[in-house]
């Protein structure tokens, strides 16, 4: 698009030997390149240190460790019982994704199709848990869960993680459902389909892409959700993020390298999830979608 709107200066350039390519680059580009470069350089450093450390033997004050090894990964796996932790993480995430889709998609459908008194209040109810950071409602929530003896269990962790996930599914699915022409459902109803079969046979297939996108995003959020899990998890219901935090906090006897190895494993699994998420969701269309609506 930047090419469509040429600067008048470039068009009015009378000099046949056009000014050097670098001078024509707009200042915005320079600033963006600087910000981008600086950010990437620092990021490389921040990621590089634990990565190198997890693969090195001994590393004191030199630029790089003295030798290379992969033994820290094995020892981290055993030391932190990562098999168990990965299993808990997977279980919690799958449960949260499934339940939030089951609760959230019907609600999104009702919100997308009906305009009813009090709709604004319901929308606010769905927006608030996303807007407010988890720690503020997490503390009272964990207190309540302790009261009902649910904190410390897998159920408690799943319930707490559902609080931001259900609204997230609702809010991502509502615009998606609004795009589906209600006449399709009207036609199905005219042909005699009952609500159940309209939902299952007509809407569900149309909604599958949206549900997949929302599920992947919820999955990424749940695997990365620190606060809520931290506040509600017991020793055997920790997910990977929380186990990692405790590993750092109760360091002492643990070697720095195996903590780094564990952190690298966490980041790798999150990276895989993120790349999958970006396949399904165009990040530039999280908030607004101009073109699609125009052509629709």
């Amino acid at each position: 698009m930047a090419d469509l709107v040429r600067t008048p200066a470039a068009q009015a350039g009378t000099d046949p030997a056009a000014p050097s390519r670098w001078r024509r680059i707009r200042p915005g580009t320079w600033i963006a390149a600087l910000v981008f470069g600086f950010f990437l350089l620092q990021l490389a450093g921040v990621i590089g240190v634990p990565l190198v450390d997890s693969l090195g033997t001994r590393w004191f004050t030199s630029w790089l460790p003295q030798g290379w090894t992969t033994k820290w990964y094995g020892s981290a796996w055993r030391e932190f019982q990562l098999g168990q932790v990965f299993w808990t993480t997977a279980l919690v995430s799958v449960l949260v994704v499934a339940l939030s889709v089951v609760i959230g998609v019907p609600a999104a459908y009702a919100l997308a199709r009906r305009d009813f008194p009090g709709k604004k209040a319901v929308l606010l109810l769905f927006v608030l848990p996303i807007l407010v950071p988890p720690l503020t409602y997490g503390i009272p929530l964990a207190t309540v869960l302790y009261k009902f003896q649910l904190a410390g269990t897998l159920t408690g962790v799943v319930l707490a993680n559902l609080v931001p996930s259900v609204p997230f599914v609702v809010l991502t699915m509502t615009p998606f459902i609004e795009q589906i022409d209600p006449r399709i459902e009207a036609a199905a109803r005219m042909c005699g389909a009952r609500t159940g079969s309209v939902l299952l046979r007509v809407l569900a297939p149309l909604l599958v892409p949206g549900i997949l996108a929302a599920s992947v995003l919820v999955l990424v959020r749940t695997v990365g959700m620190f606060e809520l899990t931290f506040l509600t998890a017991g020793p055997d219901s920790q997910t990977l993020v929380v186990a990692l935090y405790y590993a750092v906090f109760s360091a002492g006897i643990r070697t720095q390298q195996s903590i780094d190895a564990m952190a690298v494993m966490y980041t790798l699994s999150m990276l895989v999830l993120l790349v999958i998420a970006l396949r399904f969701v165009n990040p530039t269309q999280l908030v607004t979608r101009v073109k699609e609506d125009r052509s629709a």
Binding site: P106, R114, V132, T143, P175, L231, Y245, T284
Partner: protein, 311 residues
Amino acid sequence: MSATDTRAAPPPAPPEPAAAPPALRHRLAERGVDRLLLLAVPGVLFLAVLFCYPFFYGLGLSFQPAQGGGPFANYRLFFSDPYLRETLWITLGLAVPAALINCLAAVPVAFRTRGVFRGRRLITTLLVMPITLGTVLTAQGLLGYLGPNGWFNKALLGLGLIDEPLALVHNYWGVLASLIITGFPFSYLLTLSYLTGIDPSLEQAAATLGADWRKRLRYVLLPLLAPGLAITFCLSFVLAFAVFPSAQLVGDPRRTTHVISIEAYQAAFQKFDYSLGSAIAMIMAAVMLAVVVLVLAWRSLLYRGATGGKG
């Protein structure tokens, strides 16, 4: 978000039972209330039980201090104890700069990457990637990278820019860096999303009328982007205000980065004073709400209207 749904056509009538329906049902259906709304009930109930109830429970609990001394004892304690009161300023001192930096840095990068160009997917993925790092890897990385023997100080020493290593971790700067690394991708995504939501024909129209890039930026794009930027700022502020693990790991949690969420957590789950913990959580929520309302009010003074966003 979807409050703009102003579809004029009446919703399809629900399948009616064979028996004659009561008239009330018809009147309700005309206003959009029918059996289809039952679909929203589980979601609303769920949030009522697990979001509203705990919130009001916590609010009530915060007025029942463990030590006694009247309903407002916890709030009095918070605002009269300098060590506790200070947490508020420390947190604001971290959150406001972090949110500002993230928003201001996101704008030029979003402008540059909004069009379609080769390698766009790679660059956006790289920019979004820090989301995957998690606080622990970020903290470990910052401790190693910015530490006295880290690559950053080594490079600066090698270039002759400094004489002795800068103290960048276990203090304010480490936490700020961590907030920027984890917060920037988020503000970038939001800004990019708002920016691509602006109809390109508006800019083309301005260009046709002879506006150069400065004028287009100043009079067309920035005013249209302002509401989105305000919301981006609010969300990054809210994220940064609740900073918890990184303040513990790369900061100096007892003094210079003794943020409010550490205090809330310690009160509730280390001293088991749920009442004080809830009170601090309520103070956090109130401060956040105040800042968000301020920013949005200021924004509405500047500009009123739609971005031409989603229809």
